[in-house]
């Protein structure tokens, strides 16, 4: 199963490097050096970010769902993506930070604060309504503050600059930017993937996990920090992309017989394929226009989200 997902990832990555093919084939004949530049400087960071950001959303979504014991938790629904965006905007326009790593740190701080506020508002083992309401409140507040920060920013072009970034875009990112997003995300992701067995046992409840010799508080804090670092770094470079972090773990758990922990790595692979696939669709935009990636994931994700909600309601009332 993991091999199938891995192959799908390789396929979308190859398509990502080669699509659109026409300018590539043209350049390969006329100017191979420029073709190489196009491939390495423009398309490679885009493909790496698509895979890495998608994997981050899938992994952190699965880990957050496991610790909140709720299949609706995800980086976007918990408000951590919006918090990361606010952190990056404040760092970029008010603290005058320009280095990708500094912005990634601002994003991670914003995501961490959102998750801590959520934990305070909704509590551990949050029921769906308090999780959704608290997450909604944090998202709305962070979104409004981001707009305010952009409106009052010293740069008059802040709104215009930030528009396509805020809705998610992998376009025109450099290799150093990709590194700033993906190295912290990879380190956090490796730590998260190592919690697989513990998160499966967490399905039995925090008390049983503690009786089995684990420290549930430390696990929860670790997952919140790792998720904030990974999501914050990616959002600071690629903007907030919704739904992937929600859908990928739900799909992954269908492949792992419902195990919340074992779903982590498959959720990462599914997230990578989903986001890279979404980016391929985004390239169908008319020349000179861009379709924000978040629009595509929302178009695909909203129906699935509603289906999950309806199914939960149906199960509660039946």
């Amino acid at each position: 199963m993991k091999r199938g997902l891995f192959l799908a990832g390789v396929t979308v990555a190859a398509l990502g490097l080669l699509t659109p093919w026409a300018p590539m084939s043209h350049l390969l004949h006329s100017d191979p050096a420029v073709a190489r530049l196009l491939l390495v400087e423009l398309r490679l960071p885009r493909v790496l970010l698509g895979l890495g950001y998608g994997a981050t959303l899938g992994l952190t979504g699965a880990a957050l769902q496991a610790i909140f014991a709720n299949p609706l938790a995800s980086p976007d629904i918990t408000g951590s993506s919006s918090g990361a965006a606010l952190g990056a905007v404040l760092g970029g326009y008010y603290l005058g930070l320009a280095g990708p790593l500094e912005l990634a740190a601002c994003g991670a701080t914003g995501a961490l604060l959102s998750l801590l506020i959520l934990l305070g508002l909704a509590g551990r083992r949050a029921d769906s309504s308090s999780l959704l309401l608290a997450g909604l409140a944090i998202s709305l507040a962070a979104g409004a503050l981001t707009s305010l920060a952009l409106a009052l920013a010293p740069s008059p072009f802040a709104f215009y600059d930030a528009f396509d970034w805020l809705m998610g875009s992998l376009d025109d990112r450099s290799l150093p930017q990709a590194a700033a997003a993906l190295i912290p995300a990879a380190l956090a992701g490796i730590w998260l993937a190592r919690q697989t067995a513990t998160l499966d046992r967490l399905a039995l409840g925090e008390d049983v996990l503690a009786a089995l010799g684990h420290d549930p508080g430390r696990l929860r804090n670790g997952i919140i920090v790792a998720s904030a670092v990974a999501v914050g770094a990616c959002v600071s470079v690629c903007g907030a992309v919704g739904f992937v972090g929600l859908i990928a773990p739900i799909a992954a758990r269908r492949l792992t017989r419902g195990h919340p922990g074992q779903a982590l790595v498959p959720a990462g692979l599914i997230g990578a394929v989903l986001l890279s696939g979404g980016d391929l669709l985004a390239r169908l935009a008319p020349v000179g226009r861009t379709i924000p990636l978040g629009v595509i994931t929302a178009a695909v994700g909203t129906p699935i989200f509603l289906w999950v909600l309806l199914r939960m309601r149906w199960r509660l009332t039946s």
Binding site: A69, R201, A203, L204, D207, G213, G258
Partner: protein, 235 residues
């Protein structure tokens, strides 16, 4: 004989006053007491949940310093809450507490608790009683030296009350120490020993006969025996 579990100065804030306790291999012990008397706090502090005070050792190993890989062999804990959010198959759920996968042990438990036919059903789609049995099987699976069970018999029909008491007796005869909390005082004569708690204090500790017919039962529960029934204690 040396006790299997030794707890010293065990406490949990205001919910459980400091107490010393030991449990011997081969014994079935019941913890009783009114709602809020500290039964759950006693079990949780023995299982080292939520950083309780005091120290607990099982087979001379201090639980606080035993690594997770060793814990399942020493201690099994079953909480009173039986909710299950994730659609994990019953078979997998029973194996979740094992340090090493053991399909045979899981299959044996599924048979003993008559869960064979539900083995592949997601645990979130079981009835309360079925889920209680699956979660009990999970706690029994690693054959822990000490079993701490919080109200394992509540909401079960009589067939399962008797069957599970027999399973726990079997575990005790195989060398385990079993401590469980319960509300049904009619079941007490099945046990070797009874701990009675009230307002966070251990008020009685002895064989069931002594406690059932002792004076503090009526004080603790505010009811007294009237033939086969309970009636409110006269003021």
């Amino acid at each position: 004989m040396k006790p299997l579990l030794v707890a010293t100065s065990l406490s949990m804030g205001e919910r459980l006053a400091p107490l010393d306790l030991s449990l011997s291999a081969g014994t079935l012990t019941a913890a009783i007491g009114p709602n809020g008397s500290g039964k759950t706090s006693l079990l949780r502090s023995l299982a080292r949940i939520d950083r309780p005070g005091g120290a607990v050792s099982i087979m001379d190993e201090d639980l606080d310093s035993v690594p997770p890989a060793r814990r399942p062999a020493l201690l099994g804990f079953l909480p009173a809450a039986r909710e299950m959010i994730w659609p994990i198959a019953v078979r997998d759920l029973v194996g979740l507490g094992l340090a090493q996968p053991d399909e045979r042990r899981v299959a044996d438990l599924l048979r003993e608790l008559e869960l064979d036919e539900l083995a592949d059903r997601p645990a979130d789609r079981l009835s309360t009683g079925e889920r209680a049995r699956a979660l009990l099987a999970r706690a029994l699976a690693p054959r822990p030296a000490v079993l701490l069970l919080d109200e394992p018999l509540s909401n079960l029909d009589p067939y399962w009350v008797v069957t599970i008491l027999q399973l726990l007796r079997d575990a005790a005869e195989a060398g385990a120490a079993v401590l469980l909390s319960l509300h049904d005082l009619h079941l007490l004569d099945t046990f070797d020993r009874v701990l009675m708690l009230n307002a966070g204090q251990l008020v009685e500790d002895g064989p069931p006969k002594q406690i059932l017919h002792g004076p503090s039962l009526a004080d603790t529960f505010r009811v007294e025996a009237s033939g086969p029934r309970w009636r409110l204690r006269r003021a």
